[in-house]
């Protein structure tokens, strides 16, 4: 399993949007895709995935449609909506700003003060 990191609060939504933006996915697929694209570094609590999906659907950031899975079973597939795409872009920018700010803060040496 390797080393896993706790999810920061508020980041699950962003990850779901990212995962779904690559390709329409069902709920379990979202879980696998997040693990995959994070290099298995992030631990997603399975129980909190669905409330997050339902919340995003309620906010009209993702849309759901019933389809057929790879093993021929009925499954609900999520896709990114236009609003979801805008939100993802904003969240990504925000995250990058935050991350670089924190990185630069943590890399500060005594000489630089």
């Amino acid at each position: 399993m390797g080393k896993t990191a706790e999810l920061l609060p508020g980041t699950l939504d962003m990850l779901i949007l990212k995962a779904v933006s690559l390709k329409p996915l069902h709920g379990y697929g979202v879980l696998l895709r997040i693990q995959q694209i994070s290099g298995d570094a992030l631990e997603i609590p399975q129980g909190s995935l669905y409330p997050a999906l339902y919340r995003l659907e309620h906010q009209d950031l993702i849309a759901a449609e019933w389809g057929v899975s790879d093993n021929n079973r009925r499954a609900k597939y999520y896709t990114l909506t236009a609003a979801g795409r805008r939100r993802l872009r904003k969240e990504t920018e925000g995250w990058n700003r935050l991350a670089s700010a924190i990185t630069s803060a943590l890399n500060t040496t005594p000489e630089e003060v």
Binding site: G27, S48, P51, Y54, E57, H58, D60, R74
Partner: protein, 889 residues
């Protein structure tokens, strides 16, 4: 936002689909996960265990999902709705009482509101209807409050008043329409060319009138109402240019009005030009309105009523400067009043309607207070259950919303029943003759009314929830659970609230009852008024003579002679006569007379008097009393003698100290040459001309029919039989005697009198129905609260009885409580009744605004009813057995 609402709606619509989909989705996840684990070499049992751990509780996940999807509140609402339905079903007696109370109160309010809405509130069916005004002449000091407008007024004013964008004149009448042999009576209007454009309407087909058609030579044109066009011309699209026959003359159809065109309460189906001769338009005719011609106008955008009034006043002043009668007009208080069209049209009925609505609202208030009390009592019974639930974590919001859902469910159901009640009430009003009120034909039961009912019920439900929620929230869980039967402060507070409600209820019922009593007494007084003639056994009917067959007075006189002779030959007929207008027909015009040798006293003014032309034995037929001289006879008419009869009011006014017989007077406001003077040959008793409650001694004068005739007249006959039974014979005689003469409106004088009281009878009847309901509701309320007080103190009573209290003492204690509430309610009601009586003064007739006997009577009735309601619970209290009461808890 909209999208979310739509998606939420989809989910709520198929709630089961949502649940099924959610289960399926979660199951799919778990199974995929398990099969992935199994594929990685983990045993199926171990895989299932891990999946369960990883996923967490399925139920709580589902609940979180529902919450995330925003449907939690709706689920909660549905649950509360089911809960409310269940609790209401569990207490059928309470629920039935509440529903009936609501149905009655809401139904009564809807019924009255339907009338208020159609008569006072709904805009007239014209564009910018609030810009429409009417202008009428008034001579208040001569006793003539409304005289309409004259043709001269119209020609002098149109285009001359800058505040008006349009001004038109109209008159209404009935004509015999159709070709010989197939005639019918059709109500019609004569209108000036601007009439339709002033209202903001225009013919949908053809054109309106032009100036050229305003002369008597070129006025043989007609515009049809949509109804007439459909019924009489089968909606012929080429109707323009076809003919309508009126009294044997062909009129060319110019146009057809849009469907639904209706001017105020008019039933006109045909519209003719308001044609006149040049001599009708001269200054001398300026004050000849006679309340038969009326002016309407439309205010220019930005212009105000006050500006229009100022401009009309200024014009009148300018015109009066060269009027020889200027002083006389000023003495008579002459003025032309500009008033809003609709408000003016319904002014007579407005106060009555508002009072009726007030009464209905008072009834609703009593009913609501009653419900609040019953609900409070119910809430007290559940206080422990509620305390336990609050202790277990039910939120304040939950407590409040649960109450609101229950009360709203109750009021909505009651409101729907009330809607049915309103429907029935409106039909009842129809039976009472509501369509005879101004704009009364528009009273309908429609979606607007249903909306008012539903919205009103919702508001009522929330209003009812307030005291109950307050009570529930104040109940301290710990205290309520500990307390046995009589709780701490909240118990006392709610008790005070309940008792306050009872006091308010008694007071309001008292006010309603007193109001109904005053209206009833007024009606009784009005009915007791002697009309001045003997109305029993008198049958009347209105005859219309076609102008082409009866163009002048000799022809009309001949007709009368033959008709009356034929009628007199009928079995049972005692006397028969004819008159322009019977008393109380609502159409009695006044005009001036000038008495020879009479000098107006300084500050005195010319007076308008009712004037009539009479033929045959009119006075004997109507049962007038002869005070001096003789009646007019058919002979006077035939000879064309210039004689007349006056009534005692007129005689007293002009000749207070001398006999009226032999005095001479002139028609109109000028003394002309002696040959035109009429000699008074008789004095008759005064009769009620405009209505039984008309107290003004205006004076009346009766001329021979030959000298004052028209193409419309009333035939009056006195019979020894029942008057209605003579109706068919009368109809037959008119048909046989007259060439296309028609008779309508055949009614006995008793019926006319009784119908003239409709604006008193209907309110009195409604008010007594309301107060009977209020009485019943008060009894229910008092009974409920006292019963509860007894039940609540069972244990205490038991202890006291065990310690030797006598049953009479216990009974007396509760009766005393009832009496205290009654006394407080009566005191409050006394003040309310006094204020209400003063305020409704204008509706009363010969009844003081505070009628002591009525108040004492109503207080007695309320007292008896409340006492009766107190007795049963008090008696029950006295019979409580100590052992049972103590064992009970």
């Amino acid at each position: 936002m909209l999208k979310q609402i739509r998606s939420l709606y989809r989910i709520l619509k198929s709630r089961d689909d949502f649940e099924r989909g959610m289960s399926e989705e979660l199951r799919f996840h778990v199974e995929q996960y398990m099969s992935d684990l199994v594929r990685a070499g983990i045993s199926p049992q171990e895989a299932a265990r891990r999946a369960r751990i990883e996923f967490g509780g399925l139920n709580s996940t589902q609940e979180e999902c529902r919450e995330a999807r925003g449907i939690q509140p709706f689920d909660e609402f549905r649950r509360q709705l089911r809960h409310a339905g269940r609790t209401l079903r569990k207490t059928p007696r309470f629920t039935a009482t509440a529903l009936i109370t609501l149905a009655v109160c809401v139904g009564a309010n809807l019924t009255i509101f339907a009338v208020v809405d159609s008569i006072l509130l709904r805009p007239l069916p014209f564009p910018a209807p609030d810009r429409l005004v009417t202008v009428f002449n008034t001579y208040p000091k001569a006793g003539v409050l409304r005289d309409g407008s004259s043709t001269t007024n119209y020609y002098e004013r149109r285009g001359q008043i800058p505040a008006f964008s349009g001004l038109a004149i109209y008159s209404e009448a009935t004509a015999i329409v159709g070709e010989t042999g197939a005639t019918e009576l059709v109500p019609f209007m004569r209108v000036s060319p601007e009439f339709f454009s002033t209202l903001g309407a225009s013919p949908v087909m053809g054109r309106s009138f032009t100036e050229a058609e305003m002369t008597v030579q070129a006025n043989k044109v007609v515009i049809l109402s949509d109804g007439y066009w459909r019924r009489n011309f089968n909606a012929d699209p080429l109707v323009v240019g076809r003919q309508v026959w009126v009294a044997g003359v062909a009129n060319t159809v110019l146009g057809v009005l849009p469907p639904g065109f209706r001017f105020l309460s008019s039933e006109s189906r045909l519209y003719f030009p308001f044609a006149s001769r040049p001599e009708d338009r001269v200054p001398a005719e300026r004050h000849s309105g006679g309340n038969s011609k009326h002016i309407i106008a439309r205010l220019k955008p930005g212009a105000t009523l006050a500006q229009a009034q100022a401009q009309i006043d200024a014009q009148n002043n300018a015109l009066e400067r060269d009027d020889p009668k200027a002083k006389m007009l000023a003495d008579a208080g002459f003025r032309s009043v500009v008033g809003p069209l609709r408000a003016d049209h319904v002014a007579s009925i407005r106060p009555t309607l508002l009072w009726m609505q007030g009464g209905a609202l008072a009834l609703l208030l009593i009913g609501t207070v009653n419900l609040a009390n019953l609900l409070l009592i119910r809430a007290s019974g559940r206080i422990k259950e509620l305390a336990v639930r609050q202790a277990l974590g039910a939120s304040r919001w939950h407590v409040v919303s649960e109450v609101a859902v229950e009360t709203t469910l109750l009021t909505l159901a009651g409101g729907l029943l009330g809607l049915a009640g309103g429907w029935a009430g409106i039909r009842l009003l129809g039976k009472l003759g509501a369509e005879r009120l101004p704009l009364g034909a528009d009273i309908v039961f429609d979606a607007r009314l249903a909306t008012v009912a539903v919205v009103g019920s919702l508001i009522l439900g929330i209003a009812l929830a307030l005291p109950i929620a307050w009570f529930n929230l104040r109940a301290h869980p710990a205290g309520a659970i500990q307390s046995e039967t009589r709780g701490g402060t909240s118990g006392r507070m709610s008790q005070r609230l309940r008792h306050g409600f009872i006091v308010a209820q008694i007071a309001m019922a008292l006010v309603l009852l007193e109001g109904a009593g005053l209206l009833g007494l007024s009606l009784k007084q009005a009915r007791a008024v002697s009309p001045g003639f003997r109305p029993d056994h008198v049958l009347t009917g209105q005859i219309l003579l076609p102008r082409n067959q009866y163009p002048n007075w000799p022809a009309r006189l001949t007709f009368n002679e033959r008709l009356l002779a034929e009628i007199s030959r009928q079995p049972g007929v005692i006397a028969a006569g004819a008159v322009n207008n019977v008393p109380l027909s609502g159409n009695n015009g006044k005009s001036a007379v000038t008495v020879k040798g009479y000098v107006l006293p300084r500050r005195g003014t010319l007076r308008g008097h009712y004037s009539y032309g009479v033929d045959g034995n009119y006075f004997a037929a109507m049962g007038f009393s002869l005070l001096e001289g003789r009646f007019l006879t058919a002979g006077d008419s035939q000879r064309g003698d210039r004689v007349c009869i006056v009534d005692e009011d007129l005689a007293r006014f002009y000749w207070p100290h001398a006999s009226a017989l032999g005095q001479r007077l002139f028609e109109g406001s000028d003394e002309t040459k002696d040959a035109d003077a009429f000699t008074v040959v008789g004095v008759v008793g005064a009769v009620k001309q405009a209505g039984l409650t008309d107290d003004a001694a205006q004076g009346a004068i009766y001329y021979p029919y030959a000298l004052r005739n028209d193409d419309s007249l009333f035939v009056v006959l006195r019979t020894s039989l029942s008057p209605e039974s003579v109706g068919p014979a009368l109809q037959k005689i008119v048909r046989q005697t007259g060439r296309e003469a028609t008779i309508t409106d055949i009614r006995s004088m008793d019926t006319r009198i009784s119908e003239s009281l409709i604006t008193r009878r209907a309110p009195a009847l409604l008010a007594s129905v309301f107060s009977a309901m209020a009485l019943l509701l008060t009894a229910i309320g008092t009974y409920g609260v006292l019963s509860y007080a007894v039940a609540q103190r069972r244990r205490e009573i038991g202890v006291r009885m065990a310690l030797g209290a006598r049953p009479q003492q216990i009974c007396g204690q509760f009766l005393g409580l009832g009496l205290r509430l009654l006394a407080a309610g009566t005191t409050l009601g006394l003040a309310g009744a006094w204020v209400t009586g003063q305020a409704m003064r204008n509706l009363l007739f010969h009844v003081p605004p505070f009628h002591v006997a009525t108040f004492a009577g109503t207080a007695c009735i309320i007292g008896l009813v409340s006492l009766a309601a107190c007795l049963a619970p008090s008696h029950r209290a006295a019979r409580i057995s100590p052992t049972e009461a103590l064992a009970h808890e």
